[in-house]
Symmetry: C2
Subunit: 289 residues, 2 copies
């Protein structure tokens, strides 16, 4: 099965299992709304591509880990869209969870996805229990309150913020988690993979800043120009569009150079190049062509 199909199938299984019995109907609908149809599934694709590059022989654990990374991402989007954070009405081209199902259900959808992400990994490792602790530790770190997504969102409530640390936590951490957990899932030593995750996180943040500044709502599936209207730090505000495009190209190059020597390195390079192109707003890509 192709990577994208494996991700959707594993997510379907996880959500079906989690909502199979005694799940309140609105919550079950809302969880599906938060996860399907997905965005680009960039993080789980990256996770599975790293696992493939590490010559994964078993698909079960990598699939579950990729699916957990995506569930964590979806949870963070649902909570980040809440009225007390971004108060966003639109996500992936449709209503946000709280707009459609109300705030209480949106809070619970995020909570439930965090729980199921961990449970999914743990269930998939029944035959290799020694993988669970390193995987959970990696995933916890990438979403947790010290340097993870949760820390990233919490920096928005602080007066003194190091912008680099804020972006590293809010955006970069889950890319690091996707890459590193992809290696752990196969039993490989994950440390040589960490710099790749960090560079991809930086590139994604730059691309996201560009999309917000120069993309259209149709391209993003959500309102644009949010950084300037929420007065959030952005590379575009600091470097301008040209400067940000240049830095993005440089960072993607650095990411590719970070790929450790391995059998699947070539495919991974192709994926990163394809994602980097996809993420640049259409009108900038055309202008640069």
């Amino acid at each position: 099965m192709e990577i994208v199909a494996r991700i959707e199938s594993c997510l379907e299984d996880a959500i079906d299992r989690a909502t199979a019995e005694q799940c309140p109907p609105l919550l079950a609908q809302a969880v599906r709304h938060a996860v399907f149809p997905g965005g680009a599934r960039v993080r789980p694709q990256l996770c599975l591509s790293v696992a493939a590059a590490c010559s994964a022989t078993d698909e079960q654990i990598p699939d579950a880990v990729a699916c957990a990374i995506e569930m964590m991402h979806c949870a963070s989007l649902v909570h980040d869209d809440l009225p007390c954070f971004d108060d966003a009405d639109l996500r992936r081209g449709k209503e946000t969870v709280h707009t459609r199902f109300g705030e209480p259900i949106a809070v619970l959808v995020g909570d439930a996805l965090i729980v199921e992400a961990f449970n999914t990994v743990s269930l998939a490792c029944a035959h290799k229990p020694e993988r669970i602790a390193p995987l959970l530790s990696c995933i916890s770190r990438s979403v947790g309150m010290s340097g993870g997504i949760i820390a990233g969102q919490a920096w928005e409530s602080e007066r003194d913020v190091d912008v680099h640390e804020y972006h590293r936590a809010k955006t970069g951490s889950l890319f690091v988690g996707a890459v590193v957990s992809g290696a752990i899932a196969t039993g490989a030593n994950p440390e040589p993979w960490r710099p790749l995750g960090q560079k991809i996180g930086e590139a994604y943040q730059l691309a996201d800043d560009l999309l917000d500044a120069a993309g259209t709502q149709a391209e993003c599936g959500k309102p644009v120009a949010q950084d300037s209207s929420h007065d959030r730090p952005s590379a575009v505000a600091r470097l301008g569009i040209e400067g940000t495009m240049k830095l993005l190209r440089q960072t993607v190059g650095e990411a590719v150079a970070c790929i450790p020597d391995c059998e699947g390195a070539e495919d991974l390079r192709d994926l990163i190049a394809a994602q980097a192109t996809r993420l640049v707003p259409a009108k900038l890509a055309k202008a640069a062509a």
Copy 2:
């Protein structure tokens, strides 16, 4: 070390570890505010008492599991107090997390505690990785979206609700989780323990309804008469105070009768009797004496 001291010490270690690096200061403060000082720590005490009754030889895994159960409980309180749920200002005799630190931080505190609960269990099982999956499965079920606390809170957004199922999910599930995970933590077969958890959950719900109807704010550390003002189902509304007292005594008796034959059964009976007395509002206990 006494059970209560072990719980506090393990919680201190878990929160210190989770906030040690790069945790935004407000979030770190808010997480501590949510966990310390605690309430009666009923659930983790129950978890450790069951582990002791199963003749636990190792304290590390039971302590971590008890601590995870309490972190899940604290997470659910913080989210349940949010304006979109109970909109409560007071909890354990002090300001609720969102009242003191704002709603965004309160949402993130709940998220972070869920993450750390799982991570704490996983880290403690490094020497016995085969315990992690059954423990995570048990804890996920007791907090999750099918029959767990999250389901319980979500039933409040539904029109047609089975009151018994609502209480079982919102209150009973974590008592079942505390009891069953206490047994799993020692490597014992958990199934004979499940009915005890269910009965204690029912008793606790009755006691909670009594406290809400006939307790004082000082006793509860939170506003009383919330069931009637939120029009929530309550045993007191259905059976009256006398009827609820009678059912509570009967349910505690049934719980004690559910304790499986084991070395520590006597201590466990004492704990349940002590908790049952402590939970009855002072004026009713006096009247019944």
